[in-house]
């Protein structure tokens, strides 16, 4: 066995996983004539702590251990999984997955196992398994103290902190092996403030694939400042008018627009089935020439960064729209084979209990020619979106929404009064066409975004420079 293979297999060795077990699983998986198979071993240890009513007085922890086995025949998938890593249990799960094919085995030997070299985008300097619970507690207390100190109207504070160390080992029937260690951490601050008998609550969070070193003083200060400001400004905020108007998206988390308006629609499974509004638009102009949108696995330490996707494919920067022209879909192995292209490293899954699907990583728009100031100054009457809670899309009709938690009314080129709690709705391709100004201030948001699809949640990042959309429907009441 090569040194690289021994190193890759070492981690799961403690659970009894070795090369014979893996080979037996792959052989069982292909025993009914499947084209290809892969196994995905996962071990994930997560901890979280909660601060409420002044004390860090609750904790959660969870261990996930198991293996998922997938068998492919053409575009068809058979999938089985088990938490029990004994050879017999793993073989049974493999036989279950094998049932997608119903013929005799094609007697395809599994070649020599070769470990893929992968990137190192999130080396944790202080990994979480080396951090005692007692070391984490002061982080939450510091955040609480600063939140109370920031504004006397803040009456209740909760802080939620979580960290995770994950390991995945993937081996496929071509003999490809990939092993990755995947840290993750997130801190969420939520504030309730009172002002003359009125109450408002809001919060903020920061997240990344990193260890304890992630939590610099500056980061925590920014988290507190933003969460408190976003809460207290709600007392002055009103509802925007209702109807169609120009919308300016602030730099950073506005990338949610890209995620919903185009990202999901470019996931190749929807296009392969012909059900996406973007099916058949490859190579065509779909936005202004200064619009370039990417889906990027590489931002160092970002929540949506990955070293390798969950099928063992290399993951890099994928340009979706270049100078306004649609370049590619987001592929997993199945869709890449279907379209006869190389996978883009977008095959991701929530855990070993799920088969991978084409999913986004860090999705953002590159800088454009305008300044944020001139973009705001250009709007006679419209709204400016500061931060967001959630979004959703209908893949085929293209209608998508995002929920603006804080924003501003723009009147005569100036931000005049704060607005809150409003849903915006638009149609993906129409909104892309209507992006008519793009700023030069790209920011990738460091919030704890999670994307849901087919019942699977995966961590993602998103980013945006300040951008103007000529018209969207604002769900206000004015």
């Amino acid at each position: 066995m090569s040194t690289a293979l021994a190193a890759a297999l070492q981690y799961f060795g403690r659970f009894g996983v070795d090369e014979p077990l893996i080979r037996a699983a792959l052989a069982a998986a292909l025993s009914r004539g499947g084209d290809r198979a892969d196994v995905y071993f996962q071990h994930r240890v997560a901890h979280s702590l909660g601060l409420e009513d002044g004390a860090v007085n609750r904790a959660w922890s969870g261990i996930e251990l198991g293996v998922g086995i997938r068998v492919l025949r053409g575009d068809q998938t058979g999938y089985g999984y088990t938490e029990d890593l004994t050879p017999e249990s793993v073989r049974q799960a493999a036989l279950t997955a094998a049932a997608i094919a119903d013929g005799p085995s094609r007697d395809r030997p599994i070649p020599q196992l070769v470990v893929s070299a992968i990137a190192h985008r999130y080396p944790a300097q202080t990994p979480w398994d080396q951090v005692a619970a007692a070391t984490r507690l002061p982080l939450l207390q510091r955040v609480q103290e600063r939140a109370f100190a920031a504004d006397p109207r803040v009456q209740k504070v909760t802080v939620h902190f979580s960290d995770e160390e994950g390991a995945v080992l993937m081996v496929d029937s071509d003999g490809r092996v990939a092993f990755d260690l995947q840290p993750m951490t997130l801190i969420h601050l939520s504030c309730m403030a009172e002002d003359n008998g009125r109450r408002e609550s809001n919060g903020g969070n920061i997240a990344g694939r990193a260890g304890l070193e992630f939590y610099s003083d500056a980061k925590l200060d920014k988290l507190v400042r933003e969460a408190v400001d976003r809460t207290t400004i709600l007392f002055e905020a009103g509802q925007p008018p209702a109807g169609e108007m120009p919308v300016v998206l602030g730099a950073g988390s506005s990338g949610i627009l890209l995620h919903e308006a185009i990202g999901h629609g470019l996931e190749a499974d929807f296009n392969r089935k012909g059900v996406s509004i973007y099916a058949d638009k490859l190579g065509k102009p779909i936005a202004a020439p200064f619009v370039t949108v990417v889906d990027d696995a590489t931002p160092q330490g970002a929540r949506g960064a990955i070293n390798v996707d969950d099928e063992g494919n290399a993951a890099g920067l994928t340009t979706l729209i270049h100078d306004g022209v649609l370049q590619t879909y987001l592929h997993d192995s199945i869709s890449a084979r279907h379209y006869g292209v190389a996978p883009t490293g977008n095959g991701r899954r929530e855990s070993f209990r799920h088969a991978p699907l084409p999913r986004m990583r860090a999705t953002y728009m590159q800088n454009g020619p305008h300044t944020p100031e001139e973009i705001i100054a250009s709007v006679e009457r419209g709204i400016y979106c500061g931060n967001f809670a959630n979004g959703q899309v209908q893949i085929g009709a293209g209608d998508f929404t995002f929920y603006v938690k804080n924003g501003w009314l723009i009147e005569n080129g100036k931000l005049t009064r704060p607005i809150k709690d409003v849903n915006l709705i638009g149609n993906g391709p129409k909104v892309l066409e209507q992006i008519d100004m793009v700023g030069n201030d790209l920011k990738i948001d460091d919030g704890g975004w999670t994307c849901g699809k087919d019942g699977q949640s995966v961590p993602v990042s998103q980013g945006m420079p300040t951008t103007r959309v000529r018209a969207m429907t604002v769900g206000g009441r004015g």
């Binding site: 609550s201 099916a279 085929g396 929404t401």
Partner: protein, 437 residues
Amino acid sequence: MRDIAEKVVARAQAHGAQQAAASAYQVREVSVQWRDGAVEKLTEATTRGVGVELYVDGRYASVSTSDLRAEALDTFLSDAVAMTRALAPDPFRALPDPQLYAGQSALDLQLADPDYGALTAVARRELAQQLEHAARNTPEGHRILSVTTSVSDSHSQSWRVHSDGFAGEKAGTSYWLGAEVSVQDADGRRPEDACYAGARWRGDVPDPQGIGEEATRRTLSRLGSAKPPSGQLTLVVDARAAGRVVSSLLGGLSAAGWQQKRSFLEGKLGAQIGNDLLDLTDDPLVVRGLGSRRFDGEGMASRPMPLFSAGVLRHGFVDTYYGKKLQMAPTTGRLSNLRWQLGAKDREALLRDVGDGIFVTGFLGGNANGTTGDFSWGIQGFAIRGGQLAEPIGEANISGNHLTLWPALLAVGNDPYRYSALRTPTLVFGGVNVAGR
């Protein structure tokens, strides 16, 4: 698995926990996804794990693992107890008052189909195929781009054991059929819609024919949808869609939200929240109900609990912990099934009564501010003109506040949606802000 729950409690106590409660579970899930004439994905697995709540020296933690090897479990519990000791004490944490364990209903809730396991792999594929056939074999079936159908079933069992003597076992089955249809619109859009139905017993699941046809009918009805004009309108919310509005209201009933003062219903027990028509009860004892149970997640015996009676807020979801913090008697921490005081009219009659307005068949995104009760949601549906459904509408939002929405509840239908534990009927609201063009 019951042995595992018992062993976990015993080992947690051996490691220093004064009290512990463990839930072990095992779930078998099988699903077939079928698309355009062939199986797309088969998934089959039995998953299991154990979770335990630890009470150690006045401190609390909740932990779970799927690594059930004996030596791994023991290390896991010893680490978890040590982690709990590092926390601040919390005087409000304890197992429930054991008196609340007593009085479980003797009713046979029939949550598990005794014939589970009889459905073969071949039969699942046939059902998936029938769903597709039904969806395609409709008058305008030629406009269909793609049909995806699904057939899934599960059998779940769980065992809960407390250090104070409580022990309970649950078992349940479910069967679901679904069809999703995409069609080509004139302007390049590809509207999709779906129909799902399920039940705890296989014999209660409706025929695949009706499900497939309904999915196509709903999708075709989306063709040519356009933005409605903005304004204040009467809204008729389809029984199937109304769960979105209702669950947002029920979000205000959590005792955690009351204690943290992040609920628009905080301090409003006994107050008039809606008009007389807002009348619903949390009913855990519905035979074969999707949310039914004899005891809740803390082991407390389940019984029906009025939430709103003639518009007055009667009870909220109070678990042991927040009950102690608020000095309120615990009820239960989580919703089971809803039982509505139903109206006399069906959807068609309600549409006729309304005359002009919007019929909402689905929501798209949006959210609510749980502290203030403000909401803003994307909607799709149809214009209502002269008491009849007219052109399809989309790309619109509604917004308002729960505290003014429910007093404007004009009517409740007689048609609870069977395929959700919320069992929402058609709901009619007056004067809702609609933002379109």
